[in-house]
Symmetry: C2
Subunit: 452 residues, 2 copies
Amino acid sequence: MNAAEFRKIGKEMVDYVADYMEGVHKRQVYPDVDPGYLRPLIPDSAPQEPETFEDIMKDVEKIIMPGIASPACTELETVMLDWLGKMINLPEAFLAGKDGEGGGVIQGSASEATLVSLLAARTKVIRQLQDKCPGLTKAAIMDKLVAYASDQSHSSVERAGLIGGVKLKMIPTDDKFSLRGSALQKMLDEDKAAGLIPFFMVATLGTTSCCSFDNLLELGPICNKENIWMHIDAAYAGSAFICPEFRHLLNGVEFADSYNFNPHKWLLVNFDCSAMWVKKRRDLIGAFKLDPLYLHNHSYQVIPFDEMLCPHFQHWQIPLGRRFRSLKMWFVFRMYGVKRLQAYIRKHVKLSHEFESLVQKDPRFEICTEVVLGLVCFRIKGSNELNEALLEKINKTKKIHLVPCHLRDKFVLRLAICSRTVESVHIQHAWQHITELATELLKKENEQKMNQ
Amino acid sequence: MNAAEFRKIGKEMVDYVADYMEGVHKRQVYPDVDPGYLRPLIPDSAPQEPETFEDIMKDVEKIIMPGIASPACTELETVMLDWLGKMINLPEAFLAGKDGEGGGVIQGSASEATLVSLLAARTKVIRQLQDKCPGLTKAAIMDKLVAYASDQSHSSVERAGLIGGVKLKMIPTDDKFSLRGSALQKMLDEDKAAGLIPFFMVATLGTTSCCSFDNLLELGPICNKENIWMHIDAAYAGSAFICPEFRHLLNGVEFADSYNFNPHKWLLVNFDCSAMWVKKRRDLIGAFKLDPLYLHNHSYQVIPFDEMLCPHFQHWQIPLGRRFRSLKMWFVFRMYGVKRLQAYIRKHVKLSHEFESLVQKDPRFEICTEVVLGLVCFRIKGSNELNEALLEKINKTKKIHLVPCHLRDKFVLRLAICSRTVESVHIQHAWQHITELATELLKKENEQKMNQ
């Protein structure tokens, strides 16, 4: 949507909201729909081609408004998570469908999804162990529980361990910053020998630092064999899996218990919208379910409540209140269509490779890790101090903005392609700007050396 | 704002956003402002009288846009929480000010605020005990930790205990459903004698079931003496404290460590916006702080970072990402002014008393608890079954919607005044509707009795 279309449609939406407010007193206070009313009214997967805003608004009137707010809000979310799951070719077991045991939910952030998974895994293992040995206290078990992630995983994983009150160990990655099965198995063996209870592992697809990928096909079978909940955090990279040529990066998800990525990062859905799926929804619910009378849904419950038809998302997450975030997904998926979303991802990846080529052609610079998606890790061949000085120069000039990282002992610059409107010309300008500043910097450094 | 004004202003806003998008490439990628830039630019408290939308938008250009997004977003939030803190006359210790140790933050929901407080309290007590006895493990301490709330507290409190992995005990309330100091002290004495470690208590102001109030003036000194973190959950009732005549309900907050209420419930700020304050922000940060390089804020950190000037809210909450929710507060507080917000609260309370009088005049009905704010708990004098049947009749007719509760062994109906546009006529209609249905129901019941 360009700015002119946004002006037109935006103003129509303002009128739509005002009309609603002016007529709200004529509406029924509670919908007439039965649980599960929404799914049969909409297609079971996202359209390939774009649809018009007018057509979507007609469906808002026809499909959403009769079930406003809670049934529509919850049911559209379930169906949208199924659409998105199919777009990335998630195994059937993660989808809610009409009678699946899995399903998706929108969380606020990948941090929350990691925490929620860890808590579900913690509850599950505690119950299993207490079933076996009824004398065991929760605290005695928690004292032995240990969770795992790679040394490249996001800080929110460590935080989830902190909040969940369990040990969390960082396992060293290989030379491509990927967590391998052998490294996990080695630590598991040591920990079990020491009397600890491994119960949870986070595998990362597309690490924050350098967009590296943990080896799911090695890690998955180990987790399954050892009764470890495998959660996959693909916060950034996950959007790319809508393209068949990148889907192989998700191979091994079939071994996972939960999977998460953020459409708000790279799929044109506004912040916040973090999509999370579980294979067994009862495991999530088990961790959170409490059921006071004032949270019952009285009229709606005249028909016996069926979690299959309409989940109670309050048991799937930390907060109780919820916003109608699946509307954003519905509009974006239909206004773009799968093909244009794929084209959007491909364009970003193409631009990152364009930047990679520019770096490779300049002998003063080096590429630090394989460029897989929209992130390029690079640096001047030289000291960390030199690269820190370059970063400071770049960010002080404020024409582009880079966020750095450490890869082992190296200070590394990161160019991330992430704007909706980015074009080749921006990449070319960015590189020209960086090399100009680098030339200045290196010249000054050489002069200083000469004067010494 | 009526619908006509909304149409006009809404469309201006659409143009504002479109203009921004069309010109965004000409903007600097990073702001020039120094930490703490925003506070001196705006008044140190909310206006008493309404301001115009035009004046606020001028300030958006002048004050917000130069610091877009992170510094403006964070700094406006700090100042808005100070504004709101002053509106409810919170003790100085909870405000950030220029150099305070306390401060406010926007959470997504009261559930999250309770959980965050419990986690902060847990971290604090574990550190204190490990400092005293360095051999103690975290798990050994957690096994003994016990948190408290009243038997009327919201289910999210029990959930916070579940997530935090600590015991949570519900203390019986008195005949006004209020938690009293003597009941707390009794349970503390028993638990300490049994070797447990009390560390956290949630006091509720305005319980969900019947809007009762725990006795802060009795509970507070006990918590302070016993080294128990007192968190106050005033999710619904908190908005009323902007009126001096209701502020006495908050007396005793000076003993608390953290305080929370939801402006999204009753202060005309859209969902979500849950305001939370702490006396010692370092206690919150201590529970969550992890500090990877990619979360550093490089350009902004050229000036040595000062938590006093601009807090890092990622350490104050569960998710890492944040939205610019303080803008909602800024617009609402200025467009209404404190006086009109007070008038809004007073109108709702007046209407609930109007409904209360109607109930009292009908000898078939009874009021179940004191009407303090906008909630009226009432029932037909008679069996629970009769009241359940009445509720079903009311909610099936779908003219009004009531959510019930249990108070001890009684099934109770709750009329909540919560619409922005509610007027006396709605209250009168609601009561007329309820009594008509009750008459039908009682007539039918009498006929059945006659036929037996």
